[in-house]
Symmetry: D2
Amino acid sequence: MAGNSFGQLFRISTFGESHGVALGCVVDGVPPGLEISEADLQADLDRRKPGTSRYTTQRREPDQVRILSGVFEGKTTGCSIGLLIENTDQRSQDYSAISGLFRPGHADYTYHQKFGHRDYRGGGRSSARETAMRVAAGSIAKKYLFEKHGITVRAYMSQMADIKAETIDWDQIEQNPFFFPDASKLEQLDQYMRDLKKEGDSIGAKITVVAQKVPVGLGEPVFDRLDADLAHALMSINAVKGVEIGDGFDVVNQKGTQHRDELTPEGFTSNHSGGVLGGISTGQDIIAHIALKPTSSITIPGKTITVDGEPTEMITKGRHDPCVGIRAVPIAEAMMAITLMDHYLRHRAQNNDVVTQTPKI
Amino acid sequence: MAGNSFGQLFRISTFGESHGVALGCVVDGVPPGLEISEADLQADLDRRKPGTSRYTTQRREPDQVRILSGVFEGKTTGCSIGLLIENTDQRSQDYSAISGLFRPGHADYTYHQKFGHRDYRGGGRSSARETAMRVAAGSIAKKYLFEKHGITVRAYMSQMADIKAETIDWDQIEQNPFFFPDASKLEQLDQYMRDLKKEGDSIGAKITVVAQKVPVGLGEPVFDRLDADLAHALMSINAVKGVEIGDGFDVVNQKGTQHRDELTPEGFTSNHSGGVLGGISTGQDIIAHIALKPTSSITIPGKTITVDGEPTEMITKGRHDPCVGIRAVPIAEAMMAITLMDHYLRHRAQNNDVVTQTPKI
Amino acid sequence: MAGNSFGQLFRISTFGESHGVALGCVVDGVPPGLEISEADLQADLDRRKPGTSRYTTQRREPDQVRILSGVFEGKTTGCSIGLLIENTDQRSQDYSAISGLFRPGHADYTYHQKFGHRDYRGGGRSSARETAMRVAAGSIAKKYLFEKHGITVRAYMSQMADIKAETIDWDQIEQNPFFFPDASKLEQLDQYMRDLKKEGDSIGAKITVVAQKVPVGLGEPVFDRLDADLAHALMSINAVKGVEIGDGFDVVNQKGTQHRDELTPEGFTSNHSGGVLGGISTGQDIIAHIALKPTSSITIPGKTITVDGEPTEMITKGRHDPCVGIRAVPIAEAMMAITLMDHYLRHRAQNNDVVTQTPKI
Amino acid sequence: MAGNSFGQLFRISTFGESHGVALGCVVDGVPPGLEISEADLQADLDRRKPGTSRYTTQRREPDQVRILSGVFEGKTTGCSIGLLIENTDQRSQDYSAISGLFRPGHADYTYHQKFGHRDYRGGGRSSARETAMRVAAGSIAKKYLFEKHGITVRAYMSQMADIKAETIDWDQIEQNPFFFPDASKLEQLDQYMRDLKKEGDSIGAKITVVAQKVPVGLGEPVFDRLDADLAHALMSINAVKGVEIGDGFDVVNQKGTQHRDELTPEGFTSNHSGGVLGGISTGQDIIAHIALKPTSSITIPGKTITVDGEPTEMITKGRHDPCVGIRAVPIAEAMMAITLMDHYLRHRAQNNDVVTQTPKI
């Protein structure tokens, strides 16, 4: 319980259901003096919002965010920032058919068993709609990190089905609706999505998140390692089933001579570690990968039971993303930015004396 | 900072360096009335301790745990439990050669940059020696969960290099020094380890952790999902670079029809989700996989720099595990047990009214 | 930092400034199935709101609260509850005169020094306006505690200046604008307030909060004692300078024979302890007293300095409470209810086994 | 539950019972590079320990503290510090008579009801013996605060029975066994204690704690105010029934003109606030007062019940302090130092940008 907060020093606490009145967030721990506006937040929200291409759900969610507190004369005051997005396109009627059964692969069954009572409209609190607030809060973290240290946090889709990005062209990512960094595969992706829609099925995806110019020293021994907190942050995103740092599962078949990143006076010679050693950032790029499952909201019928335990069949209607991984790109960026921001402040609290002696952070 | 604690209601706080005076732990939140003894804890510690086979380091660490508080007349009192293991086989002299340089692939560099000062003896706080306390605390969680609900938490090595377990024989696991569930591969593993030792190299591994008889309902929306907290717990283990729940990274190339676990009046027809939907346990087996990197403590020399930034070469001497993944088996069990215990208490706090109405938990 | 949350399992996180766009709160950890409506919250808010009598500020703050999430079909879902009050009567122009100086006895100086930048409109985040959200969240806690166990949490003014309540008539409290339990002193209080207004001065007050039917066993050794958390909760209310449990400062001149509450088969023979022994509730009434300072917002000029350090004079204009203690009555109730609710859930998490054996809780 | 920790960034987690094997503490969040030794901690422990004068219990508790981790080559490493005191003078037999009844005024009854099972030897976890660890951890905080900013935290007994200190002579405090700052009252105190011993009774006391040279800006809006956290810290000390900041309960009968501390270019003209405005330190002395109840461990018989609910009589034998307030002096210092240390780090985390611009902190 009380699980709706994330972070220690930079902490977000969120509320809101898919088809409720509004989504909201308290962003606590923002240093004073940061220039921030609703437009800064809106830019990231617009990247996440549905209805932007034919590959995502056609629901219209204007996702217009308002800053209700914590910013005065254009700058943060150091007090908690309240964020709000009112839900305008609720259409509760679309979901009345599912109130009495458990959609397979969804949280309907577990919420019902846990709470004995659930908001069945569009998945209620378990819907990914909640992540809009993470994106808004993440924008604040991103802006602070960039202004202080030039830190950037960016994500892209590295794989969908068996279509893998083979080149990483950062400029390409925002040019296509898949956030895909390899332009040579776009046609293949487009064809795959068309076929998928015809089938009425969905597909998983792999997202890669990279933070650059992160100073050495972020992360705390031994439980609050930077990579452990990143794993928490990224696994908390809807549909994520796996998290890797650096070489991830490839290390199972690596030898020590292959994996260890050697050091020279010019820096590390490789980055198998993904920028984290002993749970602490090395100063190299922080690299994480996440696996997103295919959504269970598909038009192909599936077996399930009613809330009374009777067998029935589930047929999803309405507007859904065939690949929820696409819209996870800005969410993954937000969760990494929030985690880095929290650890940046934690590091500064304890190690300020060290920090002031070295130009590292 | 203040990163040496894990858990909300069942919380462990640890201290101790590889070659320091002692390791210790405060275990807070243990319900009163649980029968527990040092022997209960010792059983798991002995499974973790080095020197038990020719495949693990020959250091002798008796790891004799003492319970200093919180248990009276054989039963827990509900007050904090203090645990202590004194270090007896310190041999600090073995490590004097490494005080002035950064071992590649180790936390030496990041600790030095973060703290400006480090205990270089055997890795100090960054050594996996610290995990002995996790194992001891995990035994308390395991015992409570088993006595209350028959919950078991067990792990095994599912892969080393490209040698994969193809059958899972639970009885086999404690019979061999690899915690490997497939007896047909033991000879191959043995040969692989012999070759590795000759080379002076190390290898990664994949460990699988399974919890059975976990009631439905554990896990909290939206950030403290059970799977997110498990990812945090497991990624905080030394050398872990990846965490999967259920099908993990395989979902990237799965379709919705393949992945969704259908429901019938008799239960789920499959368990692709790994026992977690919407961050809440389904009542099925909880299944997680972790990837452990090959240790960088190998006898093959590697390039590195001194603390003054001069290039040099690193040659590890002394006693080291060629596959640190082996000894991670009881540690992974402990971290899953601790996470489940915490969520069991969190669930009971909020949802007791529901809990008493259903026989589920 | 990140200081805008209170509670572990029942946790509130608030935002909002006196003259900002809105006040809001995330209430996390509410058990599912509780019937709650905006009207339930409004009742307590109306008791706190200004403009209700000639003794409090004449500002109109309709304080209309909206529930934005966490309640479905009239019952709590177990997910976070979002609350919002939009500020309608802002009148920022009244405060423009104070933007360049530090009002003596206010937080202007400390906020300026801490944050380097402050919302000077009506005190910004340091204004007691923020407590409206505590009252709203407290109503949820009150309702749960009452429905489950018949627990009541009520407060009254026990002293203003040297006018002390000599009898406690619970029915009288809601009948007069002072929340005063002794009708024989009302005329004296009325005359005192008239004189004070003429002088342009303000006065302190003492508030007593009492919780009844609290089960034995709430509170955790050793830092999260019930009385310690109550002290935290009550001292966090604006203008509070002292907190007592039971006999409070009278114990300085008490002997052991006087103070110790003896036990008989019928129960305790006295309640000097205020219902807490060893930090754990005894089952008797929980009794706390708080001291509220006289507000510094008075029309009698006072010496101060500008933000540039130049000497100047402060003259408060506008609408202010001559005794801020009056409106603190519902706030004190709310903070005690929130603390009890948190400890009720914490107790249930760990001690459920014991709890089910005894009818005590 | 999990109530054995205090602090966010500087966090102590303790264990240990009065007559258990040992007391211990994990001190987390200590910045690296601080020179600290067991002797530094022992100095404060010796001030707290019993048996130092005829006015305190004659139990011998050598309280020899050991540092088990977190310090390397004489300096803190930034990793968690483990502290241990072994109990040497246990004499469990003295307490066997009380195992079957509830001592009035003690935690026996509440622990029994809460946990269903208790360590009755000397009060177990509820004994003030536990505070030895707070004193040891407080010494680390004190040393850091003093070395960084010259901050001092000192306490004295300001009143016992109706004997009040009228002058505060800091040099006098460590010269007498009462920690009393007014030498003219020592004879009176001595006589009072002799009479009390003859009667077999006990008496309450008032302790005053003062921190000097605290920079402006410590404390977080709105719940984690510096004064609120101090109230939490001080009320968590055994036997404390009241906490005041600055003028405390005197404010009830103060007017705004009296109370408000005016500002001049040379600073504040008075310190009624006790160094805290809006929950944030003003840069003046931080002043707190606490009230300690008379111990219930007195030789005059008192009515009570057995664990089976039968009426009986309690007669305390053995060695007890007639005024537990005396030994609370170093404990109160420790808890204020720990709280200031935590807030110092919290302030530095968020407001570092401001901090570097002003010479204030």
